[in-house]
Amino acid sequence: MKQQYVYGLAAFLAIVGLSVFGYKWRVLDFPISKNQETSVWTIESSIRFESGPGSIKVNLLIPTLTPGFRMLNENSVSRGYGFSLNYGSGGREAQWAIRRADGLQTIYYRISVYEDAGTDQSDTTPPFPPPPVINEPFKTAVDVIVGDVKEHSADTASFTSELLRRMNDPSPDPNVELLTSNAATRAEFVESITTILASARIPARMVHGLEMQDRQRNAEAITWLEVHDGDRWRYFNPITGEENLPEHFLIWWRGNEPLINVEGGSNVQVGFAVQENHLDAVTIAETQAAQLGASAIDFSLYSLPIQTQAVYSVLLMIPIGALVMVVLRNMVGIDAFGTFMPVLIALAFRETKLFWGVVLFTLLVALGLSIRFMLERLRLLLVPRLSAVLIVVVILMLIISLMSHRLGMETGLSVALFPMVIIAMTIERMSVVWEERGAVDAMRAGMGSLIVAIAAYVFMGMQWLEHLIFTFPELLLVVLALVVLAGRYTGYRLLELSRFKALVGR
């Protein structure tokens, strides 16, 4: 009966753990292995100008909302400039300022983004634009076009398409010709379109962005048209009238404002360089999680502060160590001190690395043991004696650290990361076993602890496992299920097979 409960519980835990894992892996696209890569675009915008005599202030519009992309990080390289990020009317702005500068100045702003189709425009719905103030004869032309296009369209999208078709007509309407004749650049052309759309009370913006390709030295910002249909923003090619965004198109800034504004400088040039890299999916997932508000992410460890994440990436491996210990102790039958001591020793090995960990641990325990035996002669009571051992361990750690530092071995310094209470307890337990059962048993249990600790360390240090558990903490339920099952394992331990060998075949 109980056996069935155990199996039922284990099955339940495993199913819950595995199905959440499956959902996150298959549906939410969490990377299952650490080596999955995503392409990351790094765009470097370089600003060159000649400094004037006075103070200099540089304002650069930088990406704010980027549909299809998510920002990984950004930074600025400038010599001696004060740097700040602000929110202006046209979105985010990077500002550099300096009291005085000489000669040709170059400032770099670098941003890394990665493609993420899931990135939706989280922009707010804009109000209907006020009717623009337009002088005659342009006003009449605009009114005629708006009226005409309205008759040939059903909604915002079709209005925009129709308008763009007319504006780009090779043999244009005289009204259109009047409006486009002054537009020397593409930006001015798009600006005139937004004016027309504003007259029709349709919210529209210019967007300027980069069509990114790998290893672009001089990328040009091109202008696109963004129209809000009351529900979401739509993107139109201002020339063809097609509703789409080019592939790898990163929106850099929006609106009519100039990209760059330099006070106190002249001959301003802005260039864009683009490079494509491949970056680890987890790094991206981490950033993504920090930025995303999705509910699945809310419960993910990636939403924790980085420092807490680092703690948990270690803590979450402890169940793995516990599982290793359950297997080694209950199925193999290795003798070890304490219940969780080996796992804690394994944790300490993470800091010191295995070889030095084993060396330092053995050294500390051996030294501590000999001092513990000296204390034995003083006939101290239990608690004071344990405390004395603890103090001796701390002093030994100090000495080892100082000596190894003198010898130029930095590994010795990491000894301080050893949990000294654990070592003190190990020493005490070992010395008790030593006295009670003799040196052989004490050595065997000591070696057993070390073997379990090494095995736990090896498993706890597996990068893919660490990634898997950290990304999918629900797998701990599966570990729990395994431990519960192991709790009802009534078969022989591996070492019992040789222990009872005398009974075989009789």
């Binding site: 022989y492 060998k501 009974l503 075989v504």
Partner: protein
């Protein structure tokens, strides 16, 4: 190596996991543990049931009472000081006499002289928990020192040989005699190097011995043959063991008895987690016997009837000859 598992299963050998999972956890509820873990309680229970135990001279419960030690042993020349919650025979001080010149100097079983102050230090160590399983504060017992029966004198090296009986649901299932060796330092625990000798349940006669999981015929120190010794008052021993179940209610119990020259078999202690080496000593698996007891189990049977059942059912398969090295 793995092929050994089915063979062991076939031989009815009980493994640690199975012992813990199927028997200790099932038949030994935790709340009953103090009955066997605390020797003061065990002694009281056994005395109330009219069983024979070594006489308790006194209990020292805290450091303040340590000075009472001299009063407790004032009339005694030999006695034993032991922790109430000790394990593995640790922390036991056996005093066999006093110095002729100074009564406050005691002679230990090993012949070493020890001062009263040293004994009191030992007692305060016991009270401080040095020998208790978890390091918790403990009590020190001062009790009768067993003068053991000469039956095992040839096959023990110092110390007190005892008889360990596994009692399953009130039925004695298996027994062994534990013989101290030089290596075990007079202690009767197999993992400390004592020799365990299987016992024919029907006759109370020793079979071959086991030392560190290997089968031996002779005592390593005395060289005397281990097999063939008849344990005196075997029927009484089995009955006492069976009554251990009624007293403790532990379904999987180890009862340790010593045989006193004058007082006969005495219950020394009982154990809720008896080890499995007894199987090696008897060259027999416990699981087979446990299964058999489950079959013949009668909840109303009296201890005497259960002891008889054990004698009837668990006669050893006698070896036809014993090889002698000449």
């Amino acid at each position: 190596m793995f092929a050994a598992a089915p063979k062991l299963r076939e031989a009815g050998v009980l493994g640690l996991n199975e012992r813990n999972c199927e028997f200790i956890m099932r038949f030994n509820p935790r709340r009953l543990y103090p009955r066997v873990d605390d020797k003061v309680i065990t002694k009281e229970l056994a005395l109330n049931a009219g069983m024979a135990v070594p006489e308790l001279y006194g209990v020292i419960r805290n450091h303040g009472e340590a000075h009472e030690f001299a009063t407790i042993v004032a009339e005694r020349d030999s006695f034993v000081v032991k922790p109430a919650r000790g394990s593995g025979g640790n922390g036991i001080l056996v005093v066999t006499g006093r110095s002729h010149r100074k009564r406050s100097t005691y002679r230990l079983a090993s012949g070493v002289l020890i001062s009263e102050a040293e004994i009191r230090y030992h007692i305060s160590n016991i009270i401080g928990g040095q020998y208790s399983l978890s390091g918790n504060p403990d009590k020190a017992l001062i009790e009768y020192c067993v003068h053991f029966d000469p039956v095992f004198a040839e096959v023990s090296y110092q110390g007190v040989p005892d008889v360990r009986i596994i009692v399953y649901r009130g039925y004695p299932a298996m027994a062994m005699v534990r013989l101290p060796t030089r290596a075990s330092d007079g202690k009767a625990n197999l993992h400390q190097g004592a020799v365990g000798a299987g016992v024919d349940m029907s006759l109370g006669e020793t079979l071959t011995g086991v030392l560190d999981n290997d089968i031996v015929d002779e005592h390593p120190d005395t060289g005397a043959l281990i097999a063939g010794l008849l344990i005196p008052q075997w029927d009484f021993i089995l009955q006492s063991a069976a009554r251990g179940y009624d007293v403790t209610e532990l379904g999987y119990l180890g009862v340790d008895m010593v045989i006193d020259r004058d007082l006969g078999p005495l219950i020394l202690e009982m154990n809720a987690r008896p080890g499995l080496n007894i199987q090696i000593a008897n060259c027999t698996g416990l699981a087979t016997r446990i299964a058999h007891i489950d079959e013949i189990h009668d909840p109303d049977a009296k201890p005497a009837a259960r002891a008889r059942a054990a004698r009837r059912e668990f006669a050893a398969e006698r070896q036809t000859s014993i090889a002698f090295d000449i």
